[in-house]
Amino acid sequence: MQLDDLYREVIVDHYNRPRNFGRPEKWDIMVEGKNPVCGDEIAIYLTVKDDIVSECHFDGKGCSISIASASVMTESLIGKSLDEVRLVLADFNQLLRGEVCQRCEQYSDAIAFQGVTKFPVRVKCALLAWKTLEGAIPDSGTHQA
């Protein structure tokens, strides 16, 4: 086990230059999440057109893993239908449980978080944004914006 497994270059890059960071002027869905253990906070803003995520932003305070993970999440959701978003969420959860996830290769830099499973106490950090988003996406059926 290496510390580099946790702080992969892409993760550090997303942390230092988070994509889609900051509160947009308009959005359709906003959801907030908190990790009570460390006080990390996140807000996610989605714009949905014709059932497709056209924009996804986030802001908040957090550690490198939670910020980088949120950044990767926003990138991997843009252009996806809400059904596909549910699939991405399920896949990322699977990846963070230490299971094989072939589709994760296609989701921005999501695969870089595989190493986080070697640091069980940090898995929660990596999942903060994703668990928060889960609360905003209806289980199934079409979304009414």
């Binding site: 006080g39 550690c63 490198s64 106490v121």
Partner: protein, 413 residues
């Protein structure tokens, strides 16, 4: 006897067991819990192996032996904090339960609607939530004393907070976030002048400085075994006898009763009135061994050792670029416990990277969320020291902190 941390370290089996990647364990989370010396571990194992039986019940030999050891432990505790009577020592599950016990008994009995409880801004959740719960039950009011700019209790503000409705001052002896040590004598004196009782949360203070309940004249003192080299699941509540006899029992069950009828009961005498159910007998006996171990080192020596560590740490930490310390920056009236952030790096990242160098520090809000808001941060890292720590470990901490930057270089601009 000279105080030799290297020799002390050898008394703790964990340090030999936890060498990782050739690096010795630098254990700096003593504010959360402390490691155990061999004598404490042995005491618990020996008791279970050779002399185990229940207390206060059996007529047989084993029970008599267990009872004698359990009650001898109570005497050890009474002696350690200079209590007048052994029956003023109540064994609980920990400092948290000790405080909850006072809130549920003394609080429910004597602190009614509109009555006031004075607290500091930097209490641990354990010394806030039981009073918030009491507020919900009875309508009591919580009044918070301000801190000075250098994070000490503002004694002038404390003086102004007393009213005819003040029933209790519930305050920490030493902050688990700031390291601030409060003026216990001054607090007790002020409270008693205003006819209020004092509950001291001694969880952080007692392990490092001991306590003199008679000297301070404090009414309640709560502390935990596991933060002072003893086992988990054992705590102490010191309560003045005059209060103990006046308030209702806490939990109902075995040991706390004198007589039970189908339509009622009478309570046992102190301290058993507050010790319902079979206690953590082995834990209590091993806790007494921990106290004896500390007494063997000498509390005066421990205080001197930690004061030396504090001076050295403050000197090194405050001269480190990017090191933000939360708490008093002078060694007087503060413990060897340092909450910090380093160069805008999140405390979880700091803790993960330090962990790789086999350095254990705490990261998070330290069960003091309102204080985190006052400090204007979401979380901090915390390094807290004890008898087995040495100056060199402060150097190792600082060297390893610089590694954090290597892993998490911020993009400029």
């Amino acid at each position: 006897m000279t105080f030799d941390p290297t020799k002390i370290r050898a008394d703790f089996p964990i340090f030999a067991a936890q060498v990782r990647n050739g690096r010795e364990l630098v254990y700096l989370d003593n504010g959360a819990t402390t490691q155990k010396p061999g004598v404490v571990i042995d005491a618990e194992r020996d008791f279970y192996s050779t002399e185990y039986g229940t207390v206060h019940r059996g007529i047989y030999h084993l029970s008599a032996v267990a009872t004698a050891q359990y009650e001898a432990a109570r005497e050890t505790v009474a002696d350690f904090i200079n209590a007048r009577l052994t029956k003023e020592i109540i064994f609980t599950r920990g400092a948290t339960e000790s405080i909850n016990l006072v809130a549920r008994t003394f609080g429910d009995r004597f602190i009614g609607k509109g009555d006031e409880i004075i607290l500091s801004e930097f209490e641990h959740h354990s010394n806030m939530v039981p009073w918030l719960m009491l507020q919900e039950r009875t309508g009591a009011r919580l009044v918070y004393v301000r801190s000075t700019p250098d994070w000490r209790l503002d004694m002038i503000d404390l003086r102004s907070k007393f009213s005819s409705r003040t029933k209790l001052v519930a305050i920490t002896g030493m902050s688990n976030v700031l390291g601030t040590i409060n003026d216990i004598d001054g607090i007790c004196q002020l409270a008693h002048e205003h006819g209020a009782r004092v509950l001291m949360d001694g969880a952080q203070l007692v392990p490092h400085f001991g306590f003199d309940v008679r000297g301070t004249d404090c009414d309640f003192l709560a502390f935990s075994s596991h933060k002072m080299l003893g086992p988990t699941g054992v705590g102490v509540l010191y309560m003045k006898q005059e209060i103990g006899v006046e308030i209702p029992p806490y939990q109902g069950g075995g040991d706390m009763i004198e007589n039970v009828r189908y339509d009622g009961f009478t309570t046992n005498e102190l301290p058993y009135k507050f010790e319902a159910g079979t206690p953590n007998i082995a834990g209590v006996i091993a806790f007494a061994k921990a106290i004896e171990y500390l007494q063997g080192l000498g509390m005066e020596n421990i205080i001197a050792h930690e004061s030396e560590l504090t001076e050295y740490a403050l000197d090194r930490l405050l001269s480190t670029e990017g090191f933000e310390l939360y708490g008093p920056k002078t060694p007087k009236h503060r413990g060897a416990l340092f909450s910090f952030n380093y160069k805008d790096i999140h405390s979880h990242d700091v803790a993960s990277i330090l962990d790789f160098a086999n350095i254990a520090v705490r990261a998070g809000h330290h069960c003091a969320q309102p204080l985190m808001q006052r400090l204007g941060v979401n979380s901090t890292a915390r390094a807290s020291f004890y008898v087995y720590n040495q100056k060199e470990e402060i150097d190792i901490l600082l060297e390893s902190l610089k590694q954090c930057e290597r892993f998490l270089k911020h993009a400029v601009g």
